[in-house]
């Protein structure tokens, strides 16, 4: 059997791109997943969704994503809650920087604003704001549920005739006369008109089998969650000083991520100091936090590129080969817009959103890295 499109990787990007292709009339699609759907970054993520970034490319794509999150969550009955983001700032210099970011957001229509500590207390009941100079509120940001956001769509794909193959590892992409021809898996050779690499942490490896060098590196990250509690606050919080975040997930647990020094491409390992770091940071803000029960601690990768922007679209030298990876920690939120862009590219030869054209893999060779006004969350 020859497929119109073979997608490598059943994460949120592989799955959503398949949906967008189906919606455009492409029917013969196979998804190949080496573990189980969602097992990469997608099921490990905090589901933060926002458009308040510091490059035009990110802002434009994320704004489109937010529109699509609204549609998709309705169509596939999963939650998308626009509870906002609040950055907690404890230094004057950070506040000065954020004033500049807020101006940038406004120039692109993202309504962030600087808020006083009293307003933070209103947005985040029970928080202690001692030591904070201000906060920044992004009211259009939100959160979802990674499991139903992926699985409900996947169920629809299967019903529509998409072949979802797992566990099956893609081992090689076969290119002949500069044309992508087939994917060789551990089980068989699968022929395709078009091949999309949406393999998260495995993208660099599988692309290298056909001579394509993707400058991506996997950075270990840590996260934990408590038992479920009734809703205390809606926004995702970022302690800017430590770059740690906390969100009460739609299921009710408090999910926390915190920075530990890590080396690229090392297998992620559980480190007890993560729990100490996370608990210390958030116990300062919430008196009740020390009495919550931690039930799980896990690790995962941020799949990083040199300019912290994704790699999207066709590979110039290989006809029929497309890439959607390198999301640098933002691959969940951008998935609806990135998937739409890739599907448009495959079907119509252009991504629809012009800014996506700046994100192809060739930008690294051509020295056209994405410019940000600041490196930010």
């Amino acid at each position: 059997m020859r497929y119109d499109v073979v997608v490598i990787g059943a994460g949120i990007n592989g799955v959503y791109t398949t949906l967008e292709l189906l919606d455009r009339g492409i029917k013969k699609i196979a998804i190949i997943e080496e573990n189980y759907p969602g097992s990469g970054g997608t099921f490990r993520c905090a589901t933060g969704i926002r458009a308040s970034f510091t490059s035009r490319e990110h802002v434009v794509l994320m704004k489109r994503s937010i529109e699509k999150w609204k549609e998709l969550s309705k169509r596939f009955s999963f939650p998308f809650i626009q509870g906002g983001y609040v950055w907690l700032l404890s230094r004057e210099e950070h506040l000065r920087n954020f004033k500049e970011y807020v101006r940038f957001h406004h120039s692109l229509g993202v309504p962030t604003r600087i808020v006083e500590p009293d307003k933070i207390k209103e947005l985040v009941p029970t928080i202690k704001t001692d030591g904070l100079v201000a906060g920044v509120h992004d009211p259009i940001a939100g959160k979802s549920n990674p499991f139903t956001a992926l699985l409900n769509v996947l169920e629809y794909l299967k019903k529509s005739g998409v072949e979802v193959r797992y566990p099956e590892k893609a081992e090689k992409i076969i290119v002949e006369n500069r044309e992508a021809k087939s994917v060789l898996t551990e089980k068989e050779r699968i022929d395709a008109e078009t091949i999309l690499v949406a393999a998260g942490y495995g993208s660099r490896g599988i692309l290298s089998t056909c001579g394509v060098d993707a400058p991506i590196n996997n950075l270990p990250k840590h996260a934990m969650i408590t038992e479920k509690y009734r809703e205390v606050f809606k926004p995702l919080l970022v302690d800017w000083e430590t770059a740690s975040y906390m969100v009460q997930t739609v299921s009710g647990g408090f999910l926390i991520g915190a920075e530990l020094e890590e080396e690229y491409n090392k297998p992620p390992m559980n480190r007890i100091e993560f729990l100490y770091t996370a608990v210390r940071i958030w116990s300062k803000y919430f008196d009740w936090f020390p009495s919550t029960h931690i039930i799980r601690y896990w690790t995962g990768y941020y799949v990083m590129t040199p300019d912290h922007h994704p790699i999207l679209g066709p590979v110039k030298d290989v006809e029929g080969l497309y890439v959607s990876t390198g999301f640098s920690g933002h691959g969940f939120m951008i998935a609806p817009a990135a998937s739409e862009a890739i599907a448009e590219w495959i079907v119509r030869g252009k991504p629809g959103i012009r800014e996506a054209e700046n994100l192809t893999i060739d930008r690294f060779k051509e020295g056209k890295l994405i410019h940000e006004i600041a490196v930010f969350g």
Partner: protein, 91 residues
């Protein structure tokens, strides 16, 4: 007995009817079933429910245990109060 009244996962309140319906929909490995129903994601991390679901799945699918993808238990294996990570020597 009515499968809607048989609780399989106490922590997340999932019934036998939920499990059978999910299997019917094609959730035939434990990893996917876990995310779809939240079975095994409660405070006991599936100590109580996963062995039962494993049996139901084996009967329904005829697959052997490794094909059913047994989920990883994440630390801490039992819920621990956050306050035990606040103090002292572990910097």
């Amino acid at each position: 007995m009515d499968p809607r009244k048989i609780i399989i996962c106490r922590c997340e309140e999932v019934t036998l009817a939920d499990v059978l319906e999910a299997i019917e929909k094609g959730y035939t490995d434990l990893e996917s079933l876990k995310r779809y129903l939240r079975i095994g994601m409660g405070p006991c991390q599936g100590t109580h429910c996963i062995p039962i679901v494993l049996r139901i799945l084996r009967r329904a699918t005829g697959k052997n245990p490794e094909e059913l993808m047994l989920p990883t238990s994440r630390p801490p294996l039992h819920p621990v109060q956050a306050k035990y990570f606040m103090g002292g020597d572990k910097d």
